[in-house]
C-alpha cells in the first residue's frame, strides 16, 4: 500500500495521461469514423473503395505495429511529431476503422423509407445524412460504440511500448523502484476498471436518454 501512496504523483500523472489520450483519441476516432462510414455509403464508387480500403487496412494491422512504424520509422523520412501526438494520431486512426464499422451498422438499421422520404422532400445526400440518417443511426449503436471506447481505453496502454508514460508505464516504473508488484499492478488494474466502468455508465445513460424505442 505504501508503494502506492508514496508514488501518488507519478501514478496520478500516468492516470491523467491515460485519460487525456483516451478523450483525445475518442473524439478523433469518432470524427474519422463518421467520415469513413460516409465514404463507404457514398454514391461515388472511388470514395466507397477508399472507405473500404481504410477499414480493411486498419482493422487488420496490429496497433503496436502501427505505433512502431509511426514513432520509430517515419522519422527516417523526416516526419516527426511529439510522442503523445504520435500515439494519439495512430490510436485515433486505428480505432476510427472500428467506429466506422459500428456507425455503418447503425446506418443500416435506419429504415430505407427514412432515406427515401428525405430524398422525396428534396434533401441532398449530405443533408439527408446529417438531418435524417446519422441522428437515427448513431442512436442505434450507442452500446457498440461504448464497447469500442472501452477497447480504446485499454489500447492506450500500448502507447507505453513506444515510450509514452501513461498509467501502465507509470505503474511499471514505480514497480521497478519499489518492487511491490502486487500493490502497484493491482492499483493500476483497478484504475483501468474504474475508467471502463465510467465509460460503461456514461454509455448506459446515453442509451437510456437517446435510444429510439421502436
Amino acid at each position: 500500500m505504501e508503494a502506492l501512496t508514496s508514488h501518488l504523483s507519478e501514478l496520478g500523472h500516468g492516470l491523467v495521461t491515460t485519460v487525456e489520450l483516451t478523450v483525445v483519441t475518442t473524439v478523433g476516432a469518432m470524427l474519422l469514423g463518421i467520415v469513413v462510414a460516409t465514404l463507404r455509403i457514398a454514391p461515388v464508387p472511388l470514395l466507397r473503395a477508399i472507405g473500404t480500403a481504410y477499414v480493411e487496412v486498419f482493422q487488420n494491422l496490429p496497433l503496436l505495429a502501427l505505433l512502431v512504424l509511426f514513432v520509430f520509422a517515419l522519422p527516417t523520412i523526416g516526419i516527426t511529431f511529439p510522442l503523445f501526438t504520435s500515439a494519439a494520431i495512430v490510436i485515433a486512426v486505428y480505432e476510427g476503422a472500428y467506429l466506422a464499422e459500428a456507425i455503418r451498422a447503425g446506418i443500416n438499421t435506419v429504415g430505407v423509407g427514412q432515406a427515401e422520404a428525405a430524398r422525396a422532400i428534396g434533401l441532398t445526400f449530405g443533408q439527408s445524412l446529417r438531418h435524417v440518417i446519422l441522428p437515427q443511426g448513431l442512436r442505434a449503436v450507442i452500446q457498440p460504440i461504448g464497447n469500442i471506447c472501452i477497447a480504446l481505453l485499454m489500447n492506450t496502454s500500448l502507447a507505453a511500448a513506444v515510450g509514452v508514460v501513461e498509467l501502465t508505464q507509470a505503474a511499471n516504473t514505480v514497480n521497478l523502484v519499489e518492487a511491490q508488484p502486487i500493490a502497484v499492478f493491482t492499483g493500476a488494474g483497478l484504475a483501468y476498471m474504474l475508467l471502463a466502468l465510467i465509460i460503461g455508465q456514461v454509455t448506459g445513460l446515453l442509451e437510456r436518454r437517446l435510444a429510439i424505442v421502436r
Partner: protein, 289 residues
C-alpha cells in the same frame, strides 16, 4: 451494388452522374497527390534508393521474417486453443445453475475484459518472477494473452448460447436429458455453428495481440522486424514489409470470417436450417446405415 449501400441515393440521373464523375476526378487527384507527397518524402530522404529495398528480394531476409511469422502463428495457435477452451468453461460457468460458480466466472470475465493486456504482460514479466514463477519466453507472451482473450471468448460463447432459441433447451429437458447433456448435445453444436464467424474474427484480434511479443522480446513477426532493422538500419522498409505481411495474413482470415458469415446466412439461418435438418422421410427400404 447491394441494398445497404444504396440507402442514400437513387439510380443516378444525368446530373448526378456528372457530379459523380467530378467527385471521382477530385478524389483521384487527392489520392494521387497523397501518393506523390509520400514518394517525395521517401525520395528526399534517400529511402527510395534501390539499395535500401534490394535486401527484401533476397531469401535470407525473407527466411528471417517468415521465421518470425511462424513464431507469430505458433503463439497465436497456442493462445487460440487455450483461450477458447478456458472461454468455453467460463461461459458455461456464467450460465451455470450454481451461484458461486456463476459469480466466480462473472468476476473473472468482468475483470480481465477491462484490464489492458500490456499490464498483464508487465505482471508476468516483472511481478511473477519475484514469486518464483519465471515462465519461458514463449509462455510469457502466451499466458497473459490467454488470460485476457479467454474473457473475450467467454463473452462470445455466452452470447451465442443465449441467442439460441429457449425452446431448444426446453425440448431437450422435456425428452429427459440432463442439463449437461442438453448443453453438450443440443445447445453447443448449434451455437458453435452460428458463432463460427465471430470466433474467426476473434482469431484476427488474437493474432494482432501476439505483436505484444515486441515487449517481451519474443521473436515473433514484429520483434523480428525490430531485430532485423537494428542490423540493417532499414527501419521504414522493414516495418512496411512487416505490416504488409500482417495485412495479408489477417485480411485472409477476415475474408474467411465473411465467407462463413455469408454461408451461415444461407444454410444456417433459422428458417433455412429447419427445412435443411428435417430427417429424411422414412420410406420403405430407406434403412438407417
Amino acid at each position: 451494388m447491394n441494398k445497404t449501400q444504396q440507402i442514400l441515393f437513387d439510380e443516378p440521373g444525368p446530373r448526378a452522374q456528372r457530379r459523380i464523375r467530378i467527385a471521382t476526378v477530385l478524389g483521384a487527384i487527392l489520392l494521387a497527390g497523397a501518393v506523390v507527397a509520400a514518394v517525395y518524402q521517401f525520395a528526399s530522404h534517400g529511402e527510395l534508393a534501390a539499395a535500401r529495398w534490394e535486401p527484401f528480394t533476397t531469401w535470407p531476409i525473407w527466411r528471417y521474417l517468415l521465421n518470425g511469422l511462424w513464431a507469430t502463428v505458433r503463439a497465436a495457435a497456442a493462445t487460440a486453443v487455450l483461450s477458447a477452451a478456458l472461454g468455453l468453461l467460463l461461459a458455461l460457468g456464467r450460465l451455470s445453475t450454481h451461484r458461486p460458480l456463476r459469480w466466480l466466472a462473472g468476476a473473472y470475465v468482468e475483470i480481465f475484459r477491462t484490464v489492458p493486456t500490456l499490464l498483464l504482460i508487465y505482471v508476468t514479466l516483472f511481478a511473477l518472477p519475484q514469486y518464483g514463477l519465471n515462465f519461458p519466453l514463449f509462455w510469457k507472451l502466451v499466458v497473459p494473452l490467454v488470460v485476457s482473450n479467454s474473457a473475450a471468448f467467454a463473452e462470445i460463447f455466452r452470447s451465442g448460447i443465449l441467442a439460441l432459441d429457449r425452446g431448444q433447451t426446453e425440448a431437450g429437458l422435456a425428452v429427459g436429458l440432463r442439463r449437461g447433456q442438453v448443453m453438450a448435445l443440443v445447445v453447443l453444436p448449434q451455437a458453435l455453428l452460428q458463432l463460427a464467424p465471430s470466433l474467426v474474427s476473434q482469431l484476427v484480434g488474437l493474432l494482432k495481440d501476439t505483436s505484444l511479443g515486441f515487449v517481451v522480446s519474443y521473436t515473433e513477426l514484429l520483434y523480428s522486424g525490430q531485430v532485423l532493422s537494428s542490423y540493417t538500419h532499414l527501419l521504414i522498409q522493414t516495418f512496411l514489409v512487416v505490416a504488409l505481411i500482417y495485412l495479408v495474413v489477417n485480411a485472409s482470415l477476415s475474408k474467411f470470417a465473411r465467407v462463413l458469415q455469408a454461408r451461415n446466412g444461407r444454410f444456417g439461418g433459422r428458417r433455412g436450417r429447419r427445412t435443411a435438418e428435417l430427417p429424411p422421410p422414412l420410406l420403405e427400404g430407406n434403412t438407417p446405415r
